[in-house]
C-alpha cells in the first residue's frame, strides 16, 4: 500500500476507535445502551401511539424501530460530528493531523455503532413477525449513503460551530424539529397533500422510507427516494467541503 494511504488509514482507524471507546467508557453496560435506548423508545412510542392514540399502522412496533434506528444514526452522528473539532483541541493545536480525518473518524465510529445496532435488531424484527426478504441485504448501502450525508453535514457544522458556538444550540433545536418532520412516529400519508411534495424532499424521510421498503415492505426503494438521497448527499458534501476548507485555516486560533 502507498505510504500516504497507509498513514491516513491508520490515523483514521485509531481516531475512530478512540471515539468509539470514549462513547462507552465509564458506563457499566457500555454498548448495550446502544441497543437499550432505541428499544426503550420503541416501547414508549408504541405504547403511546398504539394504545392511547390508536394508530393503525401494520407492523407498528418494527416499523417504529426501523425509523428510530435511522434517525438515531442521523441525530447522534451529526451532533457528535458538530462537536468533533471542538472536543479535540489537542488534535488541532498540538500536532498536525488532517482535520478532515478528525471529522471523518468521528462519523465512522457512529457508522459502525449504527451498523451494529441494525445487526442486532434484525433478529428482533423477525421475532416481531417480519418476513425478511433478500432486499434486506441492501441495507448496508442505505447506511453508507446515510454516512455520507452525516459526513457532509458534520463538515459544515463542526467548522461553523468553532466560529460561532451558537450552532450547537441551533442544531439541537433543528434536530428536535427534524424528528417530527420525518415520518418516524406517524405515516407520511398523514401530511396534507399540498405540503406533501415539500415534505418529501427531506433526505432523512427518504432514508427512512427506503429502509422500511427494504426491511418491512420487501421491495426496492422508489427512484424518487434514490434521486433525493443522492442529490442531497452531493449538495451537503460539496457545501461541507467548501465551508470546512475556508474555515480550517483558523482552527488552531479559535480553540
Amino acid at each position: 500500500m502507498n505510504r500516504n494511504v497507509r498513514y491516513y488509514f491508520d490515523v483514521i482507524t485509531v481516531l475512530a476507535q478512540k471515539d468509539f471507546k470514549v462513547r462507552y467508557r465509564n458506563s457499566v453496560l457500555g454498548f448495550l445502551w446502544s441497543l437499550l435506548n432505541p428499544l426503550a423508545y420503541m416501547v414508549i412510542l408504541w405504547a403511546v401511539f398504539s394504545l392511547l392514540l390508536r394508530a393503525s399502522i401494520p407492523n407498528f412496533a418494527p416499523w417504529l424501530l426501523v425509523g428510530l434506528l435511522i434517525w438515531r444514526f442521523f441525530s447522534i452522528g451529526t451532533s457528535q460530528g458538530l462537536m468533533s473539532i471542538l472536543s479535540n483541541p489537542s488534535l488541532v493545536s498540538k500536532v498536525y493531523v488532517s482535520r478532515y480525518a478528525i471529522v471523518l473518524s468521528n462519523n465512522l465510529a457512529n457508522f459502525f455503532g449504527s451498523a451494529l445496532e441494525f445487526l442486532v435488531m434484525l433478529p428482533l424484527l423477525v421475532i416481531l413477525g417480519i418476513d425478511l426478504k433478500a432486499y434486506a441485504l441492501l441495507l448496508p448501502i442505505i447506511l453508507v449513503l446515510e454516512f455520507l450525508l452525516v459526513f457532509g453535514l458534520s463538515l459544515s457544522l463542526s467548522s461553523l460551530n468553532l466560529k460561532y458556538r451558537d450552532f450547537y444550540q441551533i442544531w439541537d433545536i433543528a434536530l428536535q424539529l427534524g424528528f417530527f418532520l420525518s415520518p418516524i412516529v406517524y405515516d407520511a400519508n398523514a401530511i396534507p397533500v399540498r405540503y406533501r411534495f415539500l415534505y418529501s424532499l427531506n433526505p432523512v424521510t427518504r432514508l427512512i422510507e427506503s429502509t422500511r421498503d427494504l426491511l418491512i415492505g420487501g421491495q426496492f426503494p422508489s427512484q424518487f427516494d434514490d434521486a433525493i438521497i443522492v442529490l442531497s448527499i452531493g449538495v451537503f458534501l460539496i457545501l461541507g467541503f467548501l465551508i470546512f476548507r475556508s474555515l480550517e485555516r483558523d482552527f488552531a486560533l479559535e480553540l
Partner: protein, 260 residues
C-alpha cells in the same frame, strides 16, 4: 542506523518572507446575534486589533543543521514552531520542508483523551506522528520503559502528572523516523534523569544528521546542539547567526533591560 534520506536535497527547511497575524477582538463577539447586531448598530462594528505575531521571517536550514529559537515570552517562538509543524498557516510568505518528515513535540503532553489509558493515548499519538499501527503495538512496551511509565500503562491519562505526560509524548516522538524534530520547551518539565536521557537521544540524532529545531530558554542547551540560532523580539528577527554570538547578545539584552 543510516538514514535512507542521505542523498536528498540540501536544505531541510526554507522559510521565506513569512508573516503571521493574530486578531485580537476589542469586544468579544462570540455569538451570531451579537455579530449581526454589531453590523446594524453603526458605531459598534466588529473591530479587532491586528497584531503581527511574526514579521518577515527568513531562514534557510540545511540538512542536518539544527536551529535554536530564543527570545522573551510572546516574541513569536512557539508560533513559528507551529507554522513549521503545519498546525497554523502563514498569512504571507511560504514555508517549505524539503527533507522527509517532521516530528513535533509541542507544548505540554499529548492528552488526546484523559479517560483513555496511557497505552491507548500512546497508540494514537504514535500513529499520528507517523508510526504504523502494527509497529506501534510492538514498540509500546519499550516506549513506556523509556518514559519510566510501564507501571502506569493501564492508568487513565488524566491521572498522570504533567511531567509524566510530557515524558510520554517525548518518548513516543523520538521513535518516529523523522528527519526534523521540533521541540518546544519540552525538556523544562522532565526531571534531571529524564533530561539526561533526552540529551543522549539528541546527540544520537545529531550523529545521524537529523535536524533539531529547539525553542528554549536554556542557552547551554541551544549552544550545545544548534549551529544556528534565531533571536526573536516582538515577532521580528533581532539576530540570526552562529549560536554563541546570538545567545550572548540575548543575555546582554536581557541584562540591560531594567525590568526583567
Amino acid at each position: 542506523m543510516t538514514s535512507p534520506w542521505s542523498f536528498r536535497a540540501l536544505s531541510a527547511i526554507t522559510i521565506e518572507n513569512v508573516w503571521k497575524q493574530f486578531r485580537i477582538p476589542h469586544e468579544r463577539r462570540p455569538n451570531l446575534l451579537d455579530y449581526v447586531a454589531g453590523i446594524f448598530s453603526g458605531g459598534k462594528r466588529y473591530s479587532y486589533e491586528e497584531f503581527w505575531a511574526l514579521k518577515d521571517i527568513n531562514i534557510k536550514l540545511e540538512r542536518g543543521e539544527s536551529l535554536g529559537i530564543i527570545g522573551p515570552n510572546g516574541s513569536g517562538k512557539s508560533t513559528l514552531l507551529k507554522l513549521i509543524a503545519g498546525i497554523m498557516k502563514p498569512d504571507k510568505g511560504k514555508i517549505e520542508i524539503t527533507t522527509g518528515s517532521i516530528a513535533s513535540i509541542l507544548e505540554l503532553g499529548i492528552g488526546f483523551h484523559g479517560d483513555l489509558t496511557v497505552k491507548e493515548n500512546a497508540l494514537i499519538y504514535g500513529v499520528i506522528m507517523g508510526l504504523p499501527r502494527r509497529e506501534m503495538r510492538k514498540r509500546t512496551e519499550s516506549i513506556l520503559d523509556f518514559a519510566g511509565l510501564a507501571r502506569f500503562q493501564d492508568a487513565k491519562l488524566k491521572n498522570l502528572s504533567s511531567g509524566m505526560q510530557i515524558r510520554l509524548a517525548f518518548s513516543i516522538a523520538i521513535q518516529v523516523e523523522a528527519d526534523i524534530f521540533l521541540v518546544d520547551e519540552a525538556l523544562a518539565v522532565g526531571d534531571i534523569d529524564f533530561q539526561e536521557k533526552c540529551l543522549a537521544k539528541f546527540r544520537e540524532f545529531k550523529q545521524q544528521t537529523k535536524s533539531l529545531v529547539l525553542v528554549s530558554h536554556n542557552m547551554d542547551l541551544i549552544n550545545g546542539f544548534c549551529e544556528k540560532t534565531l533571536y526573536l523580539m516582538n515577532g521580528e528577527v533581532r539576530a540570526l547567526g552562529a549560536s554563541r554570538e546570538v545567545t550572548s547578545q540575548y543575555v546582554m539584552d536581557m541584562k540591560a533591560k531594567p525590568t526583567q
